[in-house]
Amino acid sequence: MADYEIPETHEFPIIPSIMEGAMAHSIPFVAGEEFQSDMGFPSPEEPGQLIDGWKEKFLELMEEKLSKYRSLQVFMDICVKCGACTDKCHYFIGTADPKNMPVARQDLLRKVYRRYFTFAGKYFPKLVGAVDLTEEVIKDMYSYYHQCSECRRCAVFCPFGIDTAEVTMAARDMLAMIGMGQKYSNQIIPKVHKIGNNLGLPEPALVDTLEGLEEEVEDDIEVKVRFPLDEKGAEILLVTPSADFFAEPHIDGLIGYAKVFHATGVTWTLSSKASEAANFGLFIGNYEHMRQISLRIRDAAKELGVKRIIFGECGHAWRVAYNHLNTLAGPWDFLDQNYPIPQHILEFTKDALDRNLLNIDKSENDHMTLTFHDSCNIARASRIGETPGSQFTTPRQVIQAVCNNYHDMAADTTHDATFCCGGGGGLLTDDLMELRLKGAQPRMESLKNVISDHGVTHMAAICAICKSQFTKVLPYYGMTMDQIVSVHQLVSNAIILEGQGGDEAEDSDEAA
């Protein structure tokens, strides 16, 4: 473990006093020419510089954004600086840097908006805190708009619903257009376009992985559970984050989906073309990229002739799928209208549980006491089920249907007040490790408290980024990386398939 100063955790949350410039040094790698041009973004003559005429370009882009996004236009105008959001961001709580207060983050763009687009800012800049657009301001934006995970916790508490994520997305897109794209996201998106997933895992490798999984599961439970790829005529297309194909604990979740499908007897398939649920187009605020990534799923669904689309456990992917797939890649008139389009895997599993299609032995999870981490994009930007707030109840109902021991974390850190894992929104990269560790503080704090007060042993999540982030940060906070589990991993443990056997011995090993 590299050496970082880890924030303390407490029995009760403490809001830090501000420390100006505490995270000014946090600057993710800027995308070089190759990645910028792969994305269709301009690249400056020298790396790290801005393109010629950047200032005019930026203001031009801003005018365009303001005329295309009502959210941005309204949010720039209506903030009253009441301070309701100032202590709500996990990055502020973890770093104490005042520019990580949501309103201050918005102000990086708002003060430029005021200077060039409002009467008061044009004629009385000092009065309203308007500033000229300088390279200094751009650098500040690049740093702090990459210290926002677009988790929307601030928007929940804002009296006007001002969503910093909207501002961050707009700013990132404009920065990319003047040569300051972020390397991590710009490196990943072209892989999705070209190969089909964020990892750049080509079809043969995917075939290999899935065959391996089939063997592994058969060795384990003596039932042949299939992991089909590109099977035309299957009923369901499963779109899942590519981390589910290789990372822990993600892969155990994938095994869970497969077992549920197997038990319910539906036919399903993965697609090599749409072998990725993630859509980083959201993170970088780029409608076109987000649309192109979404359209792969439309193409795959048409080619394979499926009737339904189901998404695996992934937070922002579900946000895009739930809210935007219809907008970006619809209309979906060629799919079966009797099911939600798209559907979440938890909706499918919950329904199967309700209809008693799954044979569950809850005691298989008795070696654990679970808690549940509401992922930000699921909690505040989507729904999983029929009623408002079912994104909170559905996962908990499924967990409690397959586990005997469960305890929630503190109420002001769950449901729509949940804390981001610290790695969302395109920040899950090693060059932002310090930020990720500090941003995880509020979640780690509530987890630690529920561990010490209620004997919780594991935290379940339904987001690939959360799972990866926690795997990395848990050890820094004195816990172990295997304390984060997939929700469908719990389902997988408890489900007893027809003809299953021979795993008793192994289970008792696990328990020990």
């Binding site: 996004y69 105008d77 008061a120």
Partner: protein, 253 residues
């Protein structure tokens, strides 16, 4: 008519036109700009009725602010509720006794509540101001204009209380002046300094309304995270410019 009265007649018209035209212009601008994507902050209502209820809890009870910070909520709620009561009380000066709403305005309840609301307003404003000075986070995000705005409204409240309790003005003449503005039959304005200070600050506030953060009042209703219905899977949402992109490559066909 005195020169002073002529000046205030002009100021009144300019301020009212600025206020109405400015806000209309801003709202039209918000309406013109499309919301390309569904971004309701969830849990969000599934129906229009639900959205109305959501706005009720936000506009009347300041629900989100209550969840965020109790102190700011107390002071803010005190201020806004007092503002509303004071507004109702002031209707007496712009409504003719012949009007059918006169009994609704000129009664014990509205008049006495409105009378004391001034004090609550001052307390609320002082609380909000104190936060800007004493909470380091709020101090950091405050511009000069944020302080001045509170001081301006504080000035209005204090001069208002001054007229009500200390330096009474010729209220009959004031009403004649106001009614004259509506009927284009201009009358003299009483020239007490406290009244003039009160009116000047009110007119200034009206004029800067459309170019300041006071836009939060109408703007709240145009906030997509709050007004959008949570039905993206059931109903396809597409902006005009989104549709243009689609038409170009035909990939959604």
């Amino acid at each position: 008519m005195s020169a002073l009265s002529i000046l205030y007649v002009i100021l009144f018209y300019v301020a009212m036109i600025t206020l109405v035209a400015g806000i209309t212009n801003k709202l039209l601008q918000y309406k013109r700009v499309p919301a390309p994507l569904k971004i309701a902050v969830t849990p969000a209502p599934l129906t229009k009725k639900g959205v109305v209820y959501r706005f009720f809890t936000e506009v009347v009870l300041f629900n989100s602010l209550f969840r965020a910070t109790k102190w700011t909520w107390i002071f803010s709620f005190m201020f806004h509720a007092s503002l509303l009561l004071a507004f109702f009380r002031h209707l007496r000066y712009v409504i003719s006794p012949d009007s059918f709403i006169w009994p609704l305005v000129n009664n014990m309840i509205v008049q006495s509540f409105g009378h004391y609301a001034g004090f609550a307003m001052v307390v609320g404003l002082l609380g909000l101001l104190a936060r800007r000075f004493f909470v380091d986070r709020v101090r950091y995000i405050s511009s000069i204009s944020d302080y001045l705005m509170l001081l301006l409204i504080l000035g209005i409240a204090i001069t208002g209380l001054g007229i009500a309790y200390v330096a009474h003005t010729d209220i009959v003449q004031l009403k004649a002046f106001i009614m004259g503005l509506f009927l284009f039959d201009w009358q003299n304005l009483p020239s007490d300094p406290v009244l003039l200070a009160h009116l000047t600050m009110v007119l200034f506030l009206a004029m800067i309304f459309p170019i300041s953060k006071l836009l939060h009042a109408p703007g709240l209703f145009m906030s997509p995270t709050r007004y959008q219905i949570d039905n993206p899977r059931e109903k396809r949402h597409l902006s005009p410019w989104g549709a243009e992109i689609e038409a170009k490559d035909g990939r959604n066909a």
